[in-house]
Structures are given as C-alpha cells and as structure tokens.
Amino acid sequence: MSTIELEKPITATAQVGAAMVALSDLPRRAPRVRSRQLFPSEPKGWLVATLAAGIVIALFAAWQLLADADVVDTFFWSKPSMVWESAVIAFSNGTMLGDTLFTFTSTIAGFVLGVVGGAVIGLSFWWSRLYARTSEPLLIAVEAMPKLALAPMIVLALGIGIESKIAMATALVIIIQVLNTHTAVRAVDRDLQTLLYSLGASRWQVFTKVVVPSTISSIVASFRVSIGLALTGAIVGEYIGSQEGLGKMIQFAASSFDISLIWVGVFTLGILSFVLYLAVLLLEKLLLRAIRG
C-alpha cells in the first residue's frame, strides 16, 4: 500500500521530466513577420458598386461580341441588342406592363397571406405544448412534400385567374414561415417569461410583452427567403395555366421560339425580385421599430 503511494509521485516526476526534455528538444518555428493588418479592412461602397456593375457590363459585352462573331448561336441564345429591341416592343405594345403587374400582385398577395398566416400559426404554438408537438410532424411532412407538384390541382380547383397564383405563392411561403416562427418561439428566454409572471402578468401579457418582441427578428428574417418563394409560386401557377403574368408570357415566347422575348421576361423577373427584396428589407426595419419601440 505504502509502496504504491510512494511510487506514484516518482513515476509522475519521471514522466514530467521526460516531457520537459522532449519539449526542450523540439525545434521552434521562426517568428512570422506580418506587415498587413490581421483582418482585411472594409472596401469602399462605391468601389463595390463599380466592380459589380463592371462585371455585369462585361458579361453583356462579351455575349454581344461573341454572338456578333457567330461563336454564340443567336437562334438559341439571342444577344443583348436583340433582347433590347424585344423589350422596347414588349413594353410599348401594352401587355408586358399588365403581365408584370399581374405577377407582382399575386406575389405580394401570396407573400402577405403566407407570412402573416405562418407567423400567426407559429406564434400560436407558444400557447400549448400538446398542440405544438402534435402539429410539428404534420407540418414537416407537408414541408417535405414538393408543393410545386400540387400546382396542377390548385389551378384546376381555383381556375386560371389570379386566385390559383396567390394560392401557389401562399403554399410555398406559409409552412417555412410556420416552422421558422416555431423555432423562434421555442427559443424565447424562459427566465424573461418567469420575470413577467413574477410581476403577476397574464399569459396574454407574457405573449405580447416577451414572446412577440423576442421572436419578431426571426420572423422578419425569414421574409427574405419567403419573398423569393412567393415569386416562384406565382410563376409556376402561371406556367400551369394563366391568361396573364410574366410566367405565361415566358411560356408563350418559348412556344413561338422567341428567345429574345424569353430573356425579356427573365430579366424583368430578376428586376422584380430585386425590387421586392429591397422592399422586404425596408418592411423588416419598419416592423422591428414598430414592435420593439
């Protein structure tokens, strides 16, 4: 018994001694000289904007030049000058503006229905764990299902008017918004809720004064994803069957082999989604200020 107790420290010292010898034998790497700062500084805003614009212009210029030199087949790919001509005709003959407005309207309506409905359902999960736990697997099953596959049925049921496009946009947005809101609701600080209860607050007061302000930043953060999904939903609805909209217009152009007109539709969609994205950023700021004071 006593020998073991004696031996232990001796072995330990021997081991440490060996380790110290080994450490002192290790070669040390030469110090590094770093003349630059550790983290690259933020670039100037104008420089970023110029570079981005430069890349876009260079791409279009290359496309134009390669098409003029017959390297790119304009039958399949068209070229910027032809796209521009098509755009001027499309916008001046009248239907293009109407189509853009149609897609814009169905996207916005689907987005609003989806995010408001999703946020309300997601927030409602705070009130009952049983209700939340029962709903969760069902929601995940619905989310896993490709909702675009529902499009033909929705168009058949709701007709080829704007209702079916709004329904498609809503369907794409709402589940993801519910799931994101639910995640945020579960992350609400329990101690903050306890504090409110200690002040004699009702559940409704805890909900409005802690749960909603805590989750609002997550709710609005998923708006950015949702707006893109809403646009996709609206376009797919138009592909299935529609009288109006950019999706219908692109399909019409494709069926008549008018590649330039397809590009006009695609670029218009790109600009539309960019504008919508900026609008959503503004909406985020306004909502955060309104709810958090």
Binding site: D191, L192, L195, Y197, S198, L199, G200, A201, Q205, G293
Partner: protein, 266 residues
Amino acid sequence: MTITAPAPHSTQQSDLTVTNLTRIFTAPDGTETRALVDASFTAKPGEFLSIIGPSGCGKSTLFNAVAGLDQPTSGDISINGSPIVGQQGHVGYLLQKDLLLPWRSVLGNVTIGLEVSGVSKKRANEIALPMLQAYGLGEFVNHRPDQLSGGMRQRAALLRTILFNRDVILLDEPFGKLDAQTRATMQEWLLDLWDDFQKTVVFVTHDIDEAIYLSDRIIVMSPRPGRIIAELPVDLDRPRKPAVVTSARFIDLKTEILDLLATGQN
C-alpha cells in the same frame, strides 16, 4: 447621499411569514429530491433579512415559492397574515440574472411592473423618470441594456423591482456577478434605496461579509436537503461605515457563520 425622490404612494410596511415550508421535487422515475425542508421564518416590516447558505440549500426554491412561481409541497406563506401561496405579484422579485428586456430602453424596463399592473405608460414614466434621475440612471434613460455596464444594469433591475411597488422584495444574489469594487458601490446604493423606501427585504447571498454588512438579521441554511440551521441578529449600529468590517463584533459574527456553514456541511 440625500435623496429627494418622490416616495411611491400607498407605501406601507408589511411582514412576510413563512411557516413549515417544504418542497420535494419528484422526478419522472419517482426519485425524490428534498430541496427545502420545514423552513419557517418571519421578516418583520421594514427589516433587511439575509439568507446565506451553500449552493443547493434551497434558497431559490424558497424564493420561487414566495413569489408564487412554484407550488410548495406543504407549508404556508403569508404577507400581513393573508396567505399568498401560489399567487404571483405580491412581492417584488429580482432573479439572479438582471433579465432586462433587450429591446426596451432603461425607462421601458423599469416601468414594466407598473405596465403589467395596468398603469398607463404616461403615468408610469412620470413616476419612473425622477427615480431614475435620483438613483444614478438619469443619463441612461433611453439607453438599451446592452449599452450599460454590469453595475448600471443591476441598478436598472433593482429599480424595476422597487417600481413594481410592493412592500416585500426578494433579491436573489443581485451582486453575484459584479466585480468587488462595483459590488461595494452597489451595496451602499442598495442601503440608500432601502433607507428611502423602507421595504421589507429578503436578500440571498453567498458572501458572508455582504450579508453581515447589509442585514438586520441573517438566516443560515444547510446544504440539501435545505433547512434553516440558525438565525443571527446583526447588532451593529446603522448607518454602517465600510470600516465596520474590521470591527471585533463583525469578525465574531463572521466566525460564527463560518462555523455554522462548516458544521452544516457534515
């Protein structure tokens, strides 16, 4: 420091009586944890009572029960003789964390108790603003909590507790996370506040010096299962000077508490 803050109306003094309070937690597998056993004490009106004990002695369990956040297994809790078991909103409760709402300004945070009680925002602000001025938060009224130092956050949290306007307040290690110097400043500040408002204070701490320096009386608790093992009156004159910590009586009290805590361990 002389304070000229308006005293909150309807201020009266109340006592808090805890009788044979026991809390046993039962895990899903049936094992029982006796967090608090047969605790009885009375905090007299306007008294500063400290509770000291090792981790896991049931101090937080006791506070949660008094605040009505947790249902005790048995026992009674009453304020001025009327039972308050299971009822929230009878006492001001400062939990271990400051729990300031990060999206609200300091003003919005300290008025939340009044807001929950149904006082209009305007009226609450009228009451709170002079208080914030008087107690050293005047220049931070519109700041968000993340812009404040630890000491200032704790002041805001304490003022929120005072502005909830209850006669009994529970403070659960309010200065536990502060550095030694800030802690000393905050102790003086708390004594000023207590002097002005004459609240009945129940104060939990791990710090023996802090307990003796601040309190009229100290309750010593044993580790789990938590029970009260001693009650010591602190017979040091008020107002106390920081130098009191070197006085013979102070050292005697401290020795006595250290002994009690050491015996309680076994």
